[in-house]
Chain length 198, copies 2
DNA sequence: CGAAAATTTGACATGACTCAACTGGAGTGG
DNA sequence: CCACTCCAGTTGAGTCATGTCAAATTTTCG
């Protein structure tokens, strides 16, 4: 067993945190995953392409973003360690990507295709349970984000972001944060100035 | 078999559209569902209560809404026939409700508790597959809504809402729509006036 | 019909945007 | 080691979309 295999094996329990897996199950899962290293600036998904896989992040930082009709970028999601990333809208519905997924900091990833995932759902039902719960949890975080747009002003949304995702804040540029919060970099700059005075 | 039973039985394929179920499975599912009739104005979920069930809507109209620190209501979700509703944030994580679920038009519902749902996941694995896909689909619709807040102005969001949910529009008040779009009723009124001129 | 609820309208206020200029730091090469 | 460039962030002035508040109007429904 080489080093690469070893560290991949160690990653399986990390991915399926909370699941009790037998040795055979770990081996089966491993056989369906691909280790991928991606450099800053690389794109794992590009708008209008097919999206047949999603990525588990072992380390690094990524973001998915939408480009509107005026060419403005809007960050849909950030991804750091222990989280998954893809264009889920496209991945789940098997339509063309409406977002790009871009590497912000060199990343170490595990890639799984939709076919392999469907295979694992059948072979190991608790994997499907895990992904059901993960999707449910995504729903709750997105719901909260929607409510934050409805009920908070820009400054409050920024504070809430800092509170919810302190590790993300340390890995991304302010203009990424602004495009996630739905404000301009100028506004974010003024908000930060205002907050630092208080 | 009485009428009530008959119509409930007929609803099962409607709920699990796309799933092929045996007669025994339908009977098992039915045994875990409760038929509920709810009048306009009733609340199925109230903020800070426990949320141990979700509702499938046979007919009628409902909404879930959040109340912010200034007492303003923000509609999180509408529900009409064939859709499910609850405070998912609370239901999935089994925490106290952060939203109310309110009946907008007299509703005919099927109620399922989290225990019964977990039982069905075990007993009929394809039910879990169905709910996994439903959660994934919810993620994609919420993702699109988030992107609409980031990239569209109030008027464009309104048009997009009319396009995506024409049946909802016919069942709810304008102030419900405004609170879903994140604007005031006055702004919505002006937008409608502007659009009717064009 | 009449009261209550929903919507519309007007005048004004304001938070966030736009555009352009400026600052500061990180890296690069002469 | 300085000069240059590039990129991110900041600042200022003016604008605009949407909000606020109060009043008028229309619709709904008992």
């Amino acid at each position: 067993m080489n080093l690469r295999k070893l560290s991949l094996n160690q990653s399986i329990p990390q991915i399926f945190e909370g699941l009790v897996l037998t040795d055979e199950e770990v081996i089966l899962i491993e056989s369906r995953l691909d280790r991928v290293f991606a450099k800053k600036g690389e794109r794992l998904v590009e708008i209008s392409n097919n999206v047949d896989c999603q990525y588990f992040i072992i380390s690094g930082c990524l973001r998915s973003f939408y480009v509107d009709k005026n060419g403005k970028e809007h960050t849909a999601q950030f991804g750091i360690y222990d989280w998954w990333i893809s264009d889920y809208t496209a991945f789940f519905s098997q339509e063309k990507a409406i977002m790009n997924v871009e590497v912000i900091k060199d990343a170490d990833l595990l890639k799984i295709s939709i076919e392999d995932l469907n295979y694992l759902y059948k072979a190991i039902p608790k994997i499907e349970t895990f992904f059901r719960k993960r999707a449910e949890w995504s729903c709750t975080t997105m719901q909260k984000r929607i409510l934050s747009y409805l009920s908070l002003n820009a400054s409050e949304r920024y504070l809430s972001f800092l509170n919810d995702y302190p590790e993300v804040e340390q890995n991304v540029k302010n203009y990424h944060i602004a495009s996630y919060l739905g404000i301009t970099t100028e506004s974010l700059s003024r908000i930060r100035k205002e907050l630092s005075r208080a």
